[in-house]
């Protein structure tokens, strides 16, 4: 039987599914329920210095897409609004009750060495397994010089990481903000500061919707709104790209990654892990369905691993990274063409209209003896996949390789590239 036991920067957990630092990990009662439900670990809701912050009423906005309730979620909450003492006491108690689970404590204090030193000592006393530095919160805290205000400046990231490594024996995870143009900046800074791991992504700055009656962004607080942090299924593609970017970066080599952003199922987790993540963290999926989803995540991942012959998580972790290349390394002589299985076709005509209106006029709309028939015009098809994506029938449109007989060639060698590296075999022009 495949084992999904996880060992991440020395922190062991029975599975790689951790709850991200957020409301699900805000209090003892939540975390105990989470551990009873089977979660492998938690990152406790971010602690700060006393006096605690104050939250607003009306906190979440949801992105409802085509009737699906929560395709994306955003929030305008801050870090924990409970006294430090209470949180630390509860962390100690829960870790004692569940010694086999990962207990990470998320921290955010002012960008001063003393502040960090003070809180690190107290966290260490709880018996927690590690800390996560919240350099990601995109609203409320950043205006006070914390959260993403730190995460957006690589020098600060490096400095604070170094302080934490100096003043604590606990492993350090640096949580990155996606609200930045190049994720490698802060990731490399974390590495330089000595971080054991990075976790990403935190939420994306967003306006969820505009209430067109109130004329205010949602969620509204007494008639006004502010930008919030976006998360949930909708952000997964953005998160995965950033994870993969770090995973393949030679300068970041050796630094572990905890993948976050839209993880809702075992398959999402497997994808993040194939891109180099060691564990995944979940928030929105738990907030929309409750903790029980972890049962299928654990079961589903183990079953898939069994089927693919992966005995441990390590056996596929990062396996997709060698195939994650730059555009200029793709083979320009590879060609695929859409093929419609006429027996499966239900005659919705979507492939025709999208290709006709917006692509390459490569699918003809015919009537044969009065019956609708859609046919690919091979010579026009560029193999863009659009028709396959819009086709509502699984397996009806497939993209079939069309042998060009030409050797692989990349942009780097292509004659159209003014800056190409000449190929040895290319005849002189």
């Amino acid at each position: 039987m495949a084992s999904i036991a996880s060992s991440f920067i020395g922190i062991k957990s029975p599975n790689p599914f951790w709850l991200a630092s957020a409301p699900p990990t805000d209090k003892e009662v939540n975390v105990v329920r989470a551990f009873r439900a089977g979660w492998g670990g938690v990152v406790w809701k971010t602690l700060g210095e006393d006096p605690p912050i104050v939250n607003v009423s009306s906190r979440y906005g949801a992105y409802s897409y085509q009737g699906a309730r929560v395709a994306g979620l955003n929030n305008i909450e801050l870090i924990t609004d409970r006294p430090l003492e209470v949180n630390l006491r509860e962390i100690t108690a829960v870790k004692k009750q569940f010694p086999d689970r990962a207990m990470i404590v998320s921290l955010m204090v002012p960008c001063e060495e003393e502040s960090w030193k003070r809180i690190l000592g107290r966290v260490e006393e709880t018996g927690a397994d590690g800390i996560e530095l919240n350099f990601g919160c995109p609203h409320g805290m950043s205006e006070r010089g914390m959260g993403s205000a730190v995460g957006q400046v690589p020098e600060y990231v490096e400095m604070v990481t170094r302080w934490c490594k100096q003043h604590s024996r606990m492993p350090v995870i640096v949580k990155l903000t996606p609200n930045i143009t190049n994720i490698l900046g802060p990731a490399r800074a974390a590495k330089r500061g000595g971080a054991d791991a990075v976790s990403l992504i935190n939420t994306i700055q967003s306006i969820m919707s505009v209430d067109l009656d109130l004329m205010a962004p949602t969620p509204t607080v007494d008639g006004k709104g502010t930008h919030g942090g976006y998360c949930g299924p909708a952000v997964k593609p953005i998160a995965m790209r950033m994870v993969a970017e770090i995973a393949r970066d030679p300068e970041c080599a050796g630094m572990a990654i905890s993948g976050i952003g839209g993880v809702s199922t075992w398959r999402d987790a497997a994808e993040f892990m194939a891109l180099g993540a060691g564990t995944v963290q979940v928030c929105t999926a738990a907030m929309t369905h409750g903790f029980r989803i972890v049962e299928d995540m654990a079961d589903g991942l183990a079953n898939w691993m069994e089927e693919k012959g992966h005995a441990t998580l390590r056996s596929f972790q990062g396996a997709a990274i060698p195939n994650f290349v730059h555009w200029e390394d793709l083979n320009l002589n590879y060609k695929i063409i859409a093929e419609i299985d006429q027996d499966l076709c239900i005659k919705c005509g979507k492939c025709h209209i999208v290709c006709e209106d917006t692509s390459h006029q490569a699918i003809g709309a015919l009537r044969v003896e009065g019956q609708r028939r859609y046919e690919v015009i091979d010579a026009e098809c560029v193999g863009c996949n659009l028709c396959m994506h819009v086709c509502p029938v699984d397996g009806c449109i497939t993209m079939v390789e069309h042998k060009t007989g030409l050797p692989p060639i990349t942009w780097k060698e292509h004659p159209n590239n003014p800056m190409r590296r000449p190929l040895e075999a290319t005849p002189a022009e």
Binding site: Q66, G67, G349
Partner: protein, 449 residues
């Protein structure tokens, strides 16, 4: 065997009557259900559903409006092609029309619930009130429409939009035709038929005169006094069984039974037999049988002379009747009604089969069904009685006696148009609406020429 006929009113509790007649057979969608259902629509190119709708509603177009929250736009898209889109959403046999053609039917036998979505959009517009249509400048032309059923009202509405003045002649006390007197009660609850008539008339330019063609006015007069005439007369006769005992009391035409039921606000006052036999295999038979059950009849048996394949009721309607506890017997034809003291007590049937030539023949074997009431639903007809042949009001009729029309719904008499059940084609509300609309366009073209 007691020879006591058992016909009584008030068989059920007030709550049962309410459930059986005042609640929608299919409840409307909630806002969220509508959005989710709307998003099941693939927004097809050259959508087969549009072709399958007799009025050609832009179905993907209106469904997209629901999906995006543009519900008013959705309703207008519907009503532009079919001003009775609200009633059609309730009564159309969608399983053989739009939904039957939905590509998701081919894909997974679960079509998009087009009828329910259409109802969602039109209900919202009715609830919000207001009239989305405006009349073009007056043309000064006058058109007579005979019959305020779906065909007549559809024609009148479109003509009024074009700026013509329309007078509708209607023989019955209420407008609406079979929407008011025929459609099963639970398909159009809450007085929807009259609300729709009011909506149509609110456009302006349409007046109703309660007069009957052939009795109070003649076709000749109308042709002289109006620039064009549209006939939306529906059926005006019912086929007879032509068997012995047909005149016994307790034997009724199903359409009369239904009309009375529709007009009775207090259903507990309607007498119904304990045992009921309905003869026929169409929608009228289904509706009579189902509503008899819902009035509290204990045993309701529908008897049809051929097999299930040739019933004109759709499978969904048959299923609906069966769910309501109606028993359906095939391959039997009525031979005679047996009475006692002038009241029907039994119906005798003969088994039937197809002979080698494919003709329906009796086998000679018979059986009887005990009954307190019999409803006849073996078809309605059009008879040209409203026309005075001597005065030259001769319209060409089809072999089955319907008024022949061309593609524009014009009859053999110049300037006289016809549509709905009185012309050949499917007897459906939606087809009647389409006929009226097409005729209105043709009349408008002719009047402007």
């Amino acid at each position: 065997m007691t020879m006591q006929s058992d016909v009584a009113a008030g068989r059920l509790s007030p709550d049962e009557y309410r459930r059986n007649f005042d609640l929608d057979a299919t409840p409307p969608l909630t806002g969220r259900q509508a959005v989710i259902e709307a998003n099941r629509c693939y927004f097809c190119y050259d959508a087969p559903c549009v072709e399958a709708c007799p009025t050609g509603i832009d179905i993907p177009g209106f469904i997209r409006g629901i999906a995006t929250g543009n519900v008013k736009g959705a309703a207008v898209t519907i009503l532009e092609e079919n001003v009775m889109g609200g009633m059609c959403a309730r009564v159309c046999p969608t399983e053989i029309l739009c939904e039957g053609a939905c590509v998701r039917m081919a894909q997974e036998e679960k079509p998009v619930a087009i009828g329910l979505l259409q109802r969602f959009a039109t209900d919202a517009l009715f609830e919000a009130g207001g009239q989305p249509f405006a009349r073009q400048p007056s043309t000064g032309r006058r058109v007579a429409v005979v019959g305020a059923g779906p065909a007549g009202l559809s024609c009148a509405h479109r003509l009024a939009m074009f700026g013509h003045e329309v007078t509708v002649f209607e023989a019955r006390p209420k407008a609406g035709g079979l929407n008011e007197y025929g459609i099963a009660a639970y398909k159009a609850v809450g007085g929807f038929a009259q609300a729709e008539v009011d909506f149509i008339l609110a456009l302006g330019g349409i007046s109703i005169e309660h007069k009957a063609l052939g009795r109070d006015v003649s076709l000749g007069e109308l042709r002289r006094e109006y620039d064009a005439v549209f006939l939306g007369l529906g059926h005006n006769a019912v086929n007879a069984l032509n068997v012995a005992g047909e005149d016994l009391s307790g034997i009724f035409d199903a359409v009369d039974f239904i009309a009375r039921l529709r007009q009775e606000p207090d259903k507990s006052r309607l007498p119904i037999g304990r045992k009921v036999v309905v003869i026929g295999g169409g929608n009228t038979a289904i509706d009579a049988a189902t509503q008899a059950r819902r009035l509290g009849a204990e045993d309701v048996t529908m008897v049809y002379r051929r097999g299930p394949e040739t019933m004109s009721a759709t499978w969904a309607e048959v299923e609906w009747a069966q769910t309501n506890g109606v028993k359906i017997k095939h391959w039997a034809q009525p031979r005679r009604a047996i009475g006692h003291g002038g009241r029907v007590m039994e119906m005798e049937f003969e088994y039937t089969r197809l002979d080698d030539g494919g003709r329906l023949v009796g086998t000679g074997e018979t059986f009887t069904i005990l009954c307190d009431q019999v409803f006849k639903a073996i078809g309605q007809r059009f008879v040209p009685s409203p026309f005075d042949a001597a005065a030259g009001e001769v319209l060409e009729l089809s072999r089955e006696g319907r008024i022949l029309v061309n593609e524009d719904r014009e009859t053999s008499l110049k300037g006289v148009y016809a549509g709905g059940d009185c012309v050949p084609g499917a007897d459906l509300t939606v087809s009647a609406v389409q006929d009226g609309k097409l005729a209105a366009h043709a009349i408008d073209r002719a009047l402007r020429a």
